[in-house]
C-alpha cells in the first residue's frame, strides 16, 4: 500500500507533511499542486509527520495539499542509452524536456531517462540453465564504440537459474530479455535496464585495487608533477576565476579514459552549453567517434532547484559505477562540490539541525568522504579491471582553503591541485600552485628526473623570495641563474595555454621528449658575465621553447624549432651537471 499525506508547512524548498500510513527515509513522494505533481524526497521522519525536500520551486503550495508517496527511493535508470545524454540532477533528459516544454524548465514534468523506442542489437551470452548472480553478463548490445553489457540487476541478491533468454535480435530497453528463477521457484523478468538507488554504492566486484596506473590528462603540470591515477581521487580548490572549470573542461576533452561523466553541479549553465555544443564536433582520437559518444552530462546548474543539485553528484557517480562494471575506465568530473555541500547546508538549515563550522552540517565530512570513496579501481568477478576516477572542484568562500569543504576534501583525496589567485592574475595557466599542491600517485615520467626538476623549482622560488628582501644586487649570480632556471621551467613547462590548438593537449610521449630538454637545461652550467646577460639569454631560450611548444608534434616545423632551441642553448652552455647527465642517459 502506498501512503498518502497532507502538507502542513512550507519553508523554502522544504515541506512538512502529515502522513497516513508507513513511509521510509529517502522515499520519493509527489506533491499535488494545481494539475502538477512535484517530486520530493523524505529527509526526516518525526512521528506521523515528515519533512521532505522538494526538487522543484515550491511557489503555490498550500497547507492541505495532497502528497502521494511511492514506496521507492530516489533512483536512476541504468541501461543502454545513457551515453551522449544530457540529464538534470534527477536524470530528466534536458533536450527532450526542451522539446516538451520549450525554453523554460517548467516544473512537474518528468520524462523517462532512457528512450523507450530505440531498438538495440542484443546478443545473448548466458545460456538457459546457467546459474547467475548480480552483475553477471546476460548479453550485450553495442552502444557507440562500446560493448554495453546487459547484466543481472544489482539488486537481485541471490543466485538464479536462467530459465529463458531471448535470441539475438532487436529489442527495446523495456523488453524482457531474460527470465530468471530463484531457489524458491519465483521467476524474475529482466529487462535491458533496471533502477538503482543513487545514494548506495555499487559493489559488484571481487576486490578493490590500489590506484597506480596514470590517468593521463595531457596537462603537463598534472601528468608530470601532480599525477592522477585511474581509480584515484583529486580535488581542484581555487578562488573564482582561477581556472577550475577550464581545467576540468580540457580534462574532459583530453583525458585518456573510456567514458567521461560531467557533473555540472550548481554552477553556470553557460559553461555546460560550451561542452554541449563543442563535443559533438570534436573527435575522440581513441575511437575516431565524436567526443559526445563517450560523455554523459549531468547538469544541475545554479538556478536549477537546489535539492536536485544535491542529488546530481550521486546520479553521476551511480552512472559511473554502472559502466565500471563493464570493465571500463570512467572519469567523473564534478564542478563544483562546494555547491553540493551548500545544498546540504541549505537543507540542514531548514531542518534546524545544529550547525557546524560556517553553518555546514556536522556530517559534512563523512558525506564528502563517502562520495569520494565511490571512486576506485576494482577487479571484477571475471578478472577484468574497471575504474572510477573522481575529480571535484572546490569553491572555497573568499578563496581561503581553511574552510570546511576544502579541508574535508583534502582529508580524503589522493591529489590536490590548488589553484592560486596570484598565478591566475599573472595569467599563468593552469594556475595550479606547484609548491603547495601534491599528489600521492606516480608520475608518467621517471620520478628521479621529476624530482630533479622540482628541486630547482623550489630552490628558485626560495631565491625569488629572498631577492624580495635583499634585492637582485644582493643575490649571487649563481643563485640568480637558478632562479632564472626555475622561472623558465614554470614558463615553458608548467604553464600551458588551454586555448592554443597544439599546446592545449600534450601526449605523454611528447611530455617525455620535451622533458629531456628541460633536464638538459636545468642541469646546464653556464658562464655568464652578468645577471643582465643571463636574463637576456633565458628570455631568448624561453622564446625558442614557446615556439617549439606551439608546433605540431613531429612535424617538420617541430624539428626545425627544436634545432633552434638546442642551438640557442648550446651557445652558452658550458657543461652538464653529472646527475642530469645520468638522468638523460637512463631516459626520463
Amino acid at each position: 500500500m502506498k501512503s498518502v499525506g497532507k502538507i502542513i508547512g512550507v519553508n523554502g524548498n522544504m515541506v512538512t507533511v502529515q502522513v497516513a500510513g508507513t513511509i521510509s527515509m529517502n522515499e520519493v513522494g509527489y506533491i499535488l499542486v494545481d494539475d502538477k505533481k512535484l517530486k520530493s524526497e523524505v529527509i526526516r521522519i518525526l512521528g506521523d509527520s515528515c519533512q521532505m525536500q522538494v526538487f522543484e520551486m515550491t511557489k503555490g503550495i498550500k497547507v492541505g495539499d495532497e502528497v502521494e508517496f511511492t514506496k521507492e527511493l530516489l533512483a536512476v535508470e541504468l541501461g543502454p542509452g545513457l551515453l551522449k545524454q544530457v540529464y538534470d540532477g534527477l536524470q530528466n533528459p534536458l533536450p527532450e524536456l526542451a522539446e516538451a516544454a520549450g525554453f523554460f524548465l517548467e516544473r512537474g514534468i518528468y520524462l523517462k531517462a532512457l528512450d523507450r523506442d530505440v531498438l538495440w542489437d542484443f546478443t545473448p551470452i548466458a545460456n538457459v540453465g546457467d546459474t547467475v548472480a548480480k552483475a553477471d553478463k546476460l548479453g550485450t548490445v553495442p552502444e557507440g564504440p562500446f560493448t554495453h553489457e546487459i547484466m543481472v540487476p544489482f539488486n537481485l541478491l541471490k543466485n538464479y537459474k536462467v530459465k529463458e533468454i531471448k535470441p539475438a535480435g532487436q529489442y527495446k530497453v523495456d523488453d524482457v530479455v531474460a527470465r530468471l528463477e530463484d531457489e524458491k521457484g519465483n521467476t524474475i523478468d529482466v529487462k535491458m535496464y533496471f533502477e538503482w538507488p543513487v545514494k548506495r554504492a555499487i559493489d559488484c566486484y571481487s576486490e578493490r585495487l590500489k590506484p597506480t596506473k596514470p590517468m593521463v590528462t595531457k596537462v603537463r603540470l598534472v601528468d608530470t608533477f601532480l599525477p592522477v591515477a585511474l581509480g584515484g581521487t583529486y580535488c581542484i580548490p581555487g578562488p573564482f576565476g582561477a581556472g577550475k572549470t577550464v581545467l576540468q573542461q580540457v580534462t574532459s576533452k583530453n583525458a585518456e579514459v573510456d567514458i567521461v561523466i560531467i557533473a555540472a553541479c550548481g554552477e553556470r549553465a553557460g559553461e555546460v552549453v560550451e561542452t554541449l555544443k563543442e563535443f559533438p564536433e570534436l573527435i575522440d582520437p581513441k575511437t575516431g567517434n565524436s567526443l559526445m559518444e563517450r560523455t554523459v552530462i549531468i547538469c544541475n546548474t545554479s538556478s536549477m532547484p537546489v535539492a536536485s543539485r544535491e542529488a546530481s553528484v550521486y546520479t553521476a557517480v551511480t552512472i559511473a559505477e554502472y559502466y565500471r562494471q563493464m570493465g571500463l575506465n570512467i572519469l567523473l568530473l564534478a564542478d563544483s562540490t562546494s555547491r553540493w555541500a551548500q545544498a546540504m547546508r541549505e537543507m540542514s538549515g531548514r531542518l534546524e539541525e545544529i550547525p557546524g563550522e560556517e553553518a555546514f552540517p556536522a556530517y559534512l565530512e563523512s558525506v564528502i568522504a563517502g562520495f569520494y570513496e565511490r571512486a576506485g579501481i576494482v577487479k571484477l568477478k571475471d578478472g577484468r579491471e574497471g575504474s572510477v576516477t573522481i575529480g571535484g572542484t572546490v569553491s572555497p568562500a573568499g578563496g581561503n582553503f581553511e574552510e570546511p569543504v576544502t579541508q574535508a576534501t583534502l582529508k580524503v583525496v589522493g591529489a590536490f591541485h590548488g589553484l592560486s589567485r596570484e598565478r591566475s592574475d599573472a595569467r599563468k595557466y593552469p594556475a595550479i600552485d606547484p609548491m603547495d599542491s601534491w599528489s600521492k600517485y606516480p608520475s608518467v615520467l621517471n620520478i628521479d628526473a621529476v624530482q630533479y626538476a622540482r628541486k630547482i623549482l623550489f630552490r628558485g622560488s626560495e631565491i625569488e623570495a629572498m631577492m624580495k628582501v635583499v634585492g637582485e644586487e644582493g643575490t649571487a649570480l649563481e643563485d640568480y641563474v637558478i632562479y632564472l632556471k626555475s622561472d623558465f621551467l614554470d614558463a615553458v613547462y608548467l604553464q600551458q595555454n588551454s586555448f592554443d590548438p597544439v599546446d592545449a593537449a600534450v601526449i605523454v610521449e611528447r611530455q617525455r621528449h620535451v622533458f629531456s630538454h628541460i633536464v638538459d637545461i636545468m642541469g646546464a652550467e653556464f658562464s655568464f658575465d652578468s645577471k643582465n646577460e643571463a636574463r637576456t639569454f633565458f628570455n631568448g631560450l624561453r622564446q625558442a621553447f614557446i615556439d617549439f611548444n606551439g608546433v605540431e608534434w613531429q612535424s617538420t616545423e617541430f624539428f626545425s624549432k627544436e634545432k633552434v632551441l638546442v642551438d640557442t642553448l648550446n651557445k652558452k652552455k658550458v657543461s652538464l651537471d653529472s646527475f642530469a647527465a645520468e638522468l638523460l642517459k637512463a631516459g626520463v
Partner: protein, 432 residues
C-alpha cells in the same frame, strides 16, 4: 470575495504573521495600515500560521491591521507602454504616468533549460581598452562591476549602456542614492535613450523589503522583451543592497547565518537572478551588467565572493580605473578569436608584463637598485596605465591593439615580450 484577517499574530522586523487557511506559498497579501496600504509576500507556512515579509516594512503596523490575501504571486504589467517609464520597487509609477495593470506576468519564473541555450557570440563594443581588449564584454553575459564605494561605478555603468548597441535598457536600482537616480535619468534623457529605457528604482529612502523585488521585476520584463526579439541590457545597481535586504529578512526569521550574517542560500538566490542572462536562439537576449560594492574593499566579503562565483567575470574598479588584476571576462574567448589574430596574444602578453612591472615597482618601493630590466618594466608600466587603463581613453579595439604593439616596442626588445615570433614578425612596428 477573499476573506479579511484582522488579527496579526506576530510582528518582528519586517515580517508579520497571521492565522489563515488556503494560502499559497509565495502569494501576495495587501496589508492596510494607518499609513496606507502595502503589499506583503508569503515566505513561510506553518500549519495555520502564515508569515509574510511586508514591503513597506514592519514599522507602524498594528496587530489590528487588516490582511487580505490576493490569490496570486507578485506580478508586473508587461507591454510596450512600459518603455520610457519609471517605477518603484513594487511596480508603482514613480513618474507621473498612469499605473499599468494590463497583461500581468508573474515574476521569478523558471530558469531556461540549459539545452536551449546557445554559445554567446557577439562582442559588445565599449571603446574602453580595459574592456574591449583585455576583458571583452559579450552579448548575454552577466557581469558586475566590483567597486569600493565612492568610485564612479554608476558613471561607468551608464557610459557602457549608452555606448552599447542594444534595443532596450532596463535599469533596476536597489538602495540607489537619489542623486544617482537623477544622474541616470539625466544621462539617459540627454543621450536620447530614455524612450528605450524602463526604470525600476528603489531608492535609499524607500522601505528595504521593496528592493528585494527589483531584480525579479526587471528580469521578468527583460525576459518577455527578449522573447520578442529584443536585445535587452539590464543594469542592476547595487546588488550588495539587495543581498543586505535578504540578510535582514533572514536574521528576522532567525535563520542560521552561514557567513557574516548572510543566509546559507545567498549563492542560490543571487544565481537565480544572474542566470536570467541568456541569448534565446532565434530571438533576443538579456545581458546583465551589475554593480557590487565591496564593503571595506574586501573581495572576500560574502557578497562579492558569491557573486564572483556566479557571474561570468567582473570589472574591478579601483582608483577610477579598471584594474587588470581581479578583472575578468569569462566569455572573452568566445569572441576574441574572431577580432584580430593578435588579440589574444596581446591580451595575455601585456598583462604578464604588467604583472612583472608590479613586482619591479614593489622592489623599487623597498629601495632596491633597479636593473636594466626593471627600468624597462617601469617605463612599460606607466605607459600601459596611461594608454590603456585611464578611463578617459575611448578608442576602438583595433586602435588599442596597435597601441599595445607601440607601447611594447618602445620599451622592450622583441624576445623580451614572450610573444610568438610569427606574430612579432607581422605586427612589430616598423623601424623599432
Amino acid at each position: 470575495m477573499r476573506k479579511v484577517y484582522s488579527k496579526i499574530e506576530t510582528i518582528a522586523g519586517n515580517v508579520i504573521s497571521v492565522k489563515a487557511t488556503d494560502v499559497q506559498y509565495g502569494e501576495l497579501a495587501r496589508v492596510s495600515t494607518a499609513y496606507g496600504d502595502t503589499l506583503a509576500e508569503v515566505i513561510k507556512l506553518d500549519g495555520e500560521l502564515v508569515s509574510m515579509q511586508v514591503f513597506a516594512g514592519g514599522r507602524g503596523i498594528s496587530t489590528g491591521d487588516e490582511v487580505r490575501f490576493l490569490g496570486n504571486p507578485m506580478r508586473v504589467s508587461f507591454s510596450d507602454s512600459l518603455q520610457g517609464r519609471i517605477f518603484d520597487g513594487s511596480g508603482k509609477p514613480r513618474d507621473n504616468g498612469p499605473e499599468l495593470t494590463d497583461n500581468l506576468i508573474t515574476i521569478g519564473g523558471p530558469s531556461v533549460n540549459p539545452a536551449k541555450r546557445i554559445i554567446p557570440r557577439n562582442m559588445i563594443r565599449t571603446g574602453i581598452p580595459m574592456i574591449d581588449l583585455f576583458n571583452t564584454l559579450v552579448e548575454s553575459q552577466k557581469l558586475p562591476i566590483f567597486s569600493v564605494s565612492g568610485e564612479p561605478y554608476n558613471q561607468l555603468l551608464s557610459r557602457i549602456a549608452m555606448q552599447a548597441e542594444v534595443d532596450l535598457i532596463i535599469l533596476g536600482g536597489m538602495g540607489l542614492k537619489y542623486d544617482d537616480y537623477l544622474f541616470f535619468k539625466e544621462e539617459l534623457e540627454n543621450g536620447g535613450a530614455m524612450s528605450r529605457t524602463i526604470m525600476f528604482v528603489h531608492t535609499a529612502s524607500d522601505p528595504v523589503v521593496e528592493s528585494l523585488m527589483v531584480p525579479d521585476i526587471s528580469l521578468a520584463v527583460a525576459e518577455k522583451f527578449a522573447l520578442q526579439g529584443k536585445k535587452v541590457l539590464v543594469l542592476l545597481t547595487d546588488m550588495t543592497n539587495f543581498a543586505d535586504a535578504m540578510k535582514e529578512i533572514a536574521i528576522t526569521q532567525e535563520q542560521v547565518p552561514s557567513n557574516r550574517g548572510y543566509p546559507g542560500d545567498l549563492y542560490s538566490q543571487l544565481a537565480s537572478r544572474y542566470e536570467k542572462a541568456v541569448d534565446f536562439e532565434g530571438s533576443g537576449s538579456i545581458t546583465i551588467l551589475g554593480v557590487t560594492t565591496m564593503p571595506g574593499d574586501d573581495v572576500t566579503h560574502p557578497v562579492p565572493d558569491n557573486t564572483g562565483y556566479i557571474t561570468e567575470g567582473q570589472y574591478y574598479l579601483k582608483n577610477g580605473r579598471i584594474e587588470p588584476f581581479g578583472s575578468l571576462s569569462r566569455l572573452k574567448q568566445q569572441v576574441n578569436d574572431k577580432t584580430r589574430d593578435d588579440h589574444r596574444a596581446i591580451m595575455d602578453g601585456m598583462i604578464k608584463l604588467y604583472a612583472a612591472y608590479k613586482s619591479s615597482l614593489e622592489k623599487k618601493s623597498m629601495g632596491f637598485n633597479m636593473s636594466a630590466w626593471d627600468e624597462k618594466l617601469l617605463k612599460y608600466g606607466s605607459q600601459f596605465e596611461k594608454g590603456m587603463m585611464d578611463l578617459s581613453v575611448n578608442i576602438p579595439l583595433e586602435k588599442a591593439l596597435d597601441l599595445g604593439w607601440e607601447i611594447m616596442a618602445s620599451c622592450f626588445e622583441k624576445d623580451e615580450t614572450g610573444l610568438k615570433t610569427d606574430l612579432i614578425n607581422r605586427y612589430w612596428p616598423k623601424g623599432k
